[in-house]
């Protein structure tokens, strides 16, 4: 996966994820999110519009990031989910744990 991060004026980290998140690639995402959180960025908006596939390994990473972000008073949000990724979230009940926004605006606003 390719992970690109930009921090907007409001301090929200916009994290663009590209590729497939499986047990092999989830480590990269884990590190990228972990680094951001370690740097004090706890409002993370993940752009998943270029993620076509995710397995439970990816879900684990997202849960861990959400736990840390919440602990810091922030949150992980996602937007742009493909129908497959959305299905996986629903099956696993992760749509209850992470806010899934319809648009980037919704994901980056109202913290």
């Amino acid at each position: 996966v390719k992970v690109t991060t930009t921090i907007d004026e409001g301090g929200v980290a916009l994290v663009e994820v590209q590729g497939e998140v499986d047990a092999h690639t989830s480590g990269e995402l884990d590190k990228a999110l972990g680094d951001l959180l370690a740097q004090g960025h706890h409002r993370l908006a993940l752009d998943f519009s270029q993620v076509g596939y995710i397995s439970s390994a990816g879900l684990r990473v997202l849960l861990r990031a959400q736990q840390k972000a919440r602990g810091l008073g922030g949150e992980v949000r996602l937007f742009g989910l493909s129908s497959f990724v959305r299905q996986v979230f629903q099956m696993a009940g992760f749509d209850r744990l992470l806010r899934i926004a319809a648009t980037r605006q919704e994901a980056t606003a109202n913290w």
Binding site: E20, D22, A23, H24, Y53, S55, S56, A57, L59, R60, L63, Q66, Q67, R70, S83, F84, Q87, V88, M91, A92, G93, R96, L97
Partner: protein, 669 residues
């Protein structure tokens, strides 16, 4: 079928997961699934492969495993096979998708597999490794999508009989499939859940490929008057189930059923099958009475085995509370290979009666002569010897083929008095390097069965090592290790591996729950067919001595969730098998499984000795499931709080009634 099967061999490295993904997606699309289903199947296989890569091997071990895609008439079967460590699916944690942020993810992988696939099933292969079978059926329209609820109402007891006429009996034609599915539904409701019978399109495909042999009775007006099928397992299984029989009430009383069944039997014979079995209900005897003249013979009674007839709309309304008892009734279609079996002494007479009635060649090993009835484990003369060595019942357990042992009792007991020397003598054959620095006394136990040398050529059957639970007051664990040396030496790199139950606690939830087809003999070939390597090692122990049971049992568990039944199958008895079974039993009970079967290999002398231990856990005899290859199974059954009203079990055959009375007496005592 072979044209539709392909196998991918990949390294145990997550970097190859995309390769698996592409392969499985392509296979799913070719099998006729849409993009969305193909993606979901990919997810399940990805999860399974990740699990194998992350848990099955030693750290740093570089090896490969395989993913096989097998397209069948009804969908896609993906088999992930590895030769890594064993895995206990029952130990997988539950996953709760409703839980909060602190949720446990241990069971997530298997949860997703089960969400996506129609069947998720583990097949343990002992030393050969293990397989995970993932099956997804093509959606082809359940019978309820063809008819209204009104049209699917159960048959009325009284209907206007059809005008008299002739019937034609023949194989199903595609145009009749929808009507057949409706007949079955109207007769049985949803008591064949997970079966293809409710999907006319599958029925057509499976009948075409031979996965199922579907037989119909057609009236002279062209109506489907009746139907039955040979089904379950694999098309080439030597024994398959004959059932799903229905006769439209308007055509009853005209011998349609028996002629249908006869036609199916002729089909089976023409296909070279070794036998058929049926599982007639016992709330009435009509189907039993149809089976008896055709040659079916009762060999087991399965108490509370299926939920009472349940219709779709009733599911979840408590209709499962009452459970129905079935008979297992077998029809051999040709001569079966003779076999030597080791029945538990206390059940020998009943089993002899069953086999005699069935008329297949089976030699039942005799318990020692003069055994008193109350010594169900200890075998007559054996008890003399037992006094010199400790608890009677314990000693009895360590005996191999009973009849042979009885002849060599004297010398054995003499030797037994001098444990130290025995171990010394035996030691050269026991790979000294592996015995290491264990205390003398421990080795004595591990090398006990010196007398086996007296029966060259029989060592393979005996394996009468000291039973761990039986010897004195040392803790179980320690004794287990004292019996290990040979297995350690012969299984490099494996002996220190986790036993089932030690692993897997963190991984996934209950995959074995998903195989939801009612049980069939044909479903068992993986376990029963080839004895695992592990066992063969012990048959050819050093110096020609058979030593003891392997440390680890080879057993598999399967839950048939649709009928809430579980089956534990033992392929090889390990040293702690009773404890292993007890743990499994407890797990299954906690999960609310209503009925738990324990299948014991009757060709293994240990069955004669360990059966009573399992009965002490609360298992009752069910009967035997004979096998054309001689790998007969002794089935025990455990009812988890399921009430059985024996007065409401109706059995037609003499032997069936004897078996019912026999089981009833045991249940009462």
């Amino acid at each position: 079928m072979t044209n539709d099967t392909s196998t991918l061999t990949i390294p145990n490295d997550t970097a190859y997961l995309p390769v698996v993904g592409a392969y499985v997606t392509t296979s799913a699309l070719q099998a006729g699934f849409g993009e969305e289903d193909a993606g979901r199947i990919r997810l399940a296989v990805d999860e399974a492969c990740t699990h194998v890569i992350e848990t099955a091997f030693e750290p740093g071990e570089e090896t490969t495993f395989t993913v096989t895609c097998q397209r069948s008439a009804s969908g896609l079967r993906v088999v992930i096979a590895d030769k890594g460590m064993p895995f206990n699916p029952a130990a997988v944690a539950d996953y709760d998708p409703q839980a909060g942020l602190d949720r446990e993810l241990g069971g997530l992988s298997f949860y997703l597999m089960k969400q996506v696939m129609d069947e998720v099933r583990f097949v343990g292969k002992g030393r050969e490794g293990k397989e995970l079978h993932l099956v997804k059926y093509l959606e082809a329209g359940n019978i309820t999508t063809y008819f209204s609820e009104e049209e699917l109402r159960p048959y009325e007891a009284r209907v206007e009989p059809a005008p008299p006429g002739e019937y034609v009996f023949r194989l199903l034609q595609p145009a009749e499939a929808v009507e057949v599915a409706r007949c079955v539904y109207k007769t049985y409701g949803y008591t064949y859940p997970g079966e293809h019978i409710y999907y006319p399109q599958r029925l057509i495909e499976m009948s075409r490929t031979g996965e199922q042999v579907s037989v119909v009775a057609i009236s002279d007006k062209g109506e489907v008057a009746g139907y039955c099928a040979i089904f379950g397992g694999q098309a080439d299984d030597p024994v398959r189930e004959l059932g799903q029989a229905v006769v439209d009430p308007a055509h009853r009383g005209r011998r349609v059923l028996s002629r249908l069944l006869q036609f199916a039997i002729d089909q089976a014979r023409a296909r070279g099958m070794a036998g058929l079995f049926g599982e007639p209900v016992t709330n009435h005897t009509f189907s039993q009475q149809a089976c008896i003249p055709l040659g079916f013979r009762d060999t087991a009674l399965l108490l509370g085995y299926i939920p009472q007839s349940v219709y779709f709309k009733k599911i979840g309304e408590g209709a499962l509370a009452q459970r129905e008892t079935l008979l297992y009734s077998l029809l051999p279609l040709r001569a079966w290979a003779p076999a030597q079996l080791y029945p538990p002494p206390h059940h020998r007479a009943m089993l002899a009666r069953i086999y005699e009635n069935l008329g297949i060649a089976r030699e039942l090993a005799q318990a020692g002569r003069g055994a008193s009835a109350d010594e169900k484990n200890s075998l007559g003369p054996v008890s003399d010897r037992a006094h010199s060595l400790g608890p009677v019942s314990d000693r009895a357990h360590s005996l191999g083929p009973v009849s042979d042992r009885a002849h060599s009792l004297g010398p054995v007991s003499n030797r037994a008095h001098s444990l130290g020397p025995v171990s010394d003598r035996a030691r050269p054959g026991a790979r000294p390097g592996s015995v290491g620095d264990r205390p003398e006394q421990e080795r004595a136990h591990s090398l006990g069965p010196v007398s086996l040398a007296r029966w060259p050529g029989r060592a393979d059957r005996a394996r009468p090592g000291a039973r761990p639970g039986s010897v004195g007051d040392r803790p179980e664990q320690e004794r287990a290790h004292s019996l290990g040396p040979v297995s350690l030496a012969r299984r490099p790199g494996r002996a220190d591996r986790a036993r089932p139950g030690e692993r897997g606690g963190s991984v996934g939830d209950r995959p074995q729950q998903v195989g939801d087809r009612p049980e069939q003999v044909g479903d068992r070939p993986e376990q029963v067919g080839d004895r695992p390597e592990q066992e063969r090692i012990f048959r050819t122990g050093p110096g020609g001595l058979a030593l003891q049971r392997p440390e680890q049992s080879v057993l598999s568990t399967r839950v048939l969730s649709a009928i809430n039944v579980a089956r534990i199958e033992i392929a090889t008895y390990g040293q702690h098998v009773t404890t292993e079974v007890e743990i499994k039993l407890n797990e299954l009970c906690r999960k609310g499984i209503a009925c738990i079967h324990l299948d014991l290999p009757l060709g293994d002398p240990w069955t004669a000795h360990l059966c009573a231990d399992f009965e002490a856990l609360g298992f009752l005899l069910a009967g035997v499931l004979p096998d054309p290859r001689g790998q007969d199974v002794l089935r025990l059954q455990f009812l988890n709080g399921v009430p059985i009203d024996f007065d409401k079990i109706h059995v037609a055959s003499d032997v069936g009634q004897e078996l019912l009375g026999y089981i009833r007496r045991m249940a009462d005592s």
